[in-house]
C-alpha cells in the first residue's frame, strides 16, 4: 500500500479529532479529540519515515517522544478535569468561565 493510503487515514483521523474538539462540551471528550489528533500526527511521522529517504528510525523516535508528551498531557489534563468537577459539579467546558480559583 502506498504512502497516500496512510496519509489519507491520518487526515481523516485528524479531521475527526478536530470535529470532536469543536462539537463536544464535555472536557473528557475534548481530551479524546486531542488524542485522536496526536495519533494522526504520529501516523504521518511513521509513514513518511517509511516511504521517504530519511533514515527509517527518525520518524519512529519522534513518534515515541510524541507518545511520552501525550502521556504527560493526559495526566495533567485529568487532574485539571477532576479539579473542575469538584469546583462546579460538572465538566462542561462552556460553563468553566472563571480562571481564578
Amino acid at each position: 500500500m502506498s504512502l497516500h493510503f496512510y496519509l489519507v487515514v491520518a487526515a481523516l483521523l485528524f479531521v475527526l479529532g478536530l470535529v470532536c474538539m469543536i462539537t463536544r462540551r464535555n472536557a473528557v471528550a475534548l481530551l479524546m479529540g486531542v488524542e485522536l489528533i496526536l495519533n494522526s500526527a504520529n501516523l504521518n511521522f511513521v509513514a513518511f519515515s517509511r516511504f521517504t529517504e530519511a533514515r527509517a528510525l527518525d520518524g519512529q523516535a519522534t513518534a515515541i517522544f510524541v507518545i511520552i508528551l501525550a502521556a504527560c498531557e493526559a495526566a495533567v489534563a485529568m487532574a485539571i478535569v477532576l479539579n473542575l468537577y469538584r469546583q462546579q459539579r460538572g465538566i462542561d467546558v462552556d460553563a468553566a468561565r472563571e480562571l481564578q480559583g
Binding site: M1, L13, L16, R25, T52
Partner: protein, 167 residues
C-alpha cells in the same frame, strides 16, 4: 490482493470508523471504548509500516495508560445526568463544515504534492536501533523529556490533591 494489503485496509477502516464513533457517539462511555479500537487500529498500521517497537509502545502507553485514565475520568465525573455532551445543532453544523473544509484541503495537499517516494529496506529490528539512537543521537531530547515527565507527574499529583480550594 495479498494478505498485507488486506490487513492494511482492515486496520485503516477500523481506525477511521472507530474514530468517527469517538467524535459522534451520543454516549461518552461508548466514545471511550471506541477509542480503544482506534488506538488498536493505529498500532496495527504501525506494524504494517514495520514499526514493531512503536506498535507495542502504542498498545502499552495508549491503551494501558491513557485510555484507562480517560475511562476513570469518565466514570468519576459523569454523575450529572443532565449535562449536555455536545454543543447545539448550529455550532455542530459549523464544526462539521470546518472539518469538511479542512479535510478537502488536506486531501488536496496529499494528492497534489509530489512526495519524493522511495522504499528503503526495513531494518531487521527497530528496538535495537531505537535504543542506540536514544543513547546517542537523541540523548538531549531523551533527557529533557524525562525531566518533563517527572515534572508533569508531580504537577498532576499536586493539582489533584489540593483541589477545589480546600487545602
Amino acid at each position: 490482493m495479498d494478505v498485507k494489503t488486506l490487513l492494511e485496509l482492515l486496520f485503516g477502516l477500523l481506525t477511521v470508523a472507530s474514530a468517527a464513533w469517538v467524535a459522534f457517539s451520543p454516549k461518552l462511555l461508548h466514545a471511550g471504548f471506541s477509542l480503544l479500537f482506534t488506538f488498536f487500529g493505529v498500532a496495527g498500521l504501525y506494524v504494517t509500516l514495520g514499526a514493531d517497537f512503536l506498535a507495542v509502545t502504542q498498545v502499552l502507553v495508549y491503551i494501558g495508560g491513557i485510555l484507562v485514565l480517560l475511562l476513570f475520568g469518565i466514570l468519576l465525573t459523569t454523575a450529572m445526568p443532565t449535562a449536555e455532551l455536545s454543543v447545539g445543532p448550529s455550532r455542530r453544523g459549523q464544526g462539521l463544515a470546518l472539518g469538511a473544509l479542512l479535510l478537502g484541503l488536506l486531501l488536496l495537499a496529499v494528492f497534489r504534492a509530489g512526495w519524493p517516494l522511495s522504499f528503503p529496506p526495513l531494518p531487521e529490528n527497530t528496538a535495537r536501533g531505537l535504543g542506540t539512537g536514544f543513547m546517542t543521537t537523541w540523548i538531549l531530547p531523551f533527557e529533557v523529556v524525562s525531566i518533563l515527565l517527572l515534572g508533569s507527574m508531580l504537577g498532576a499529583l499536586h493539582l489533584a490533591r489540593h483541589a477545589g480550594g480546600e487545602k
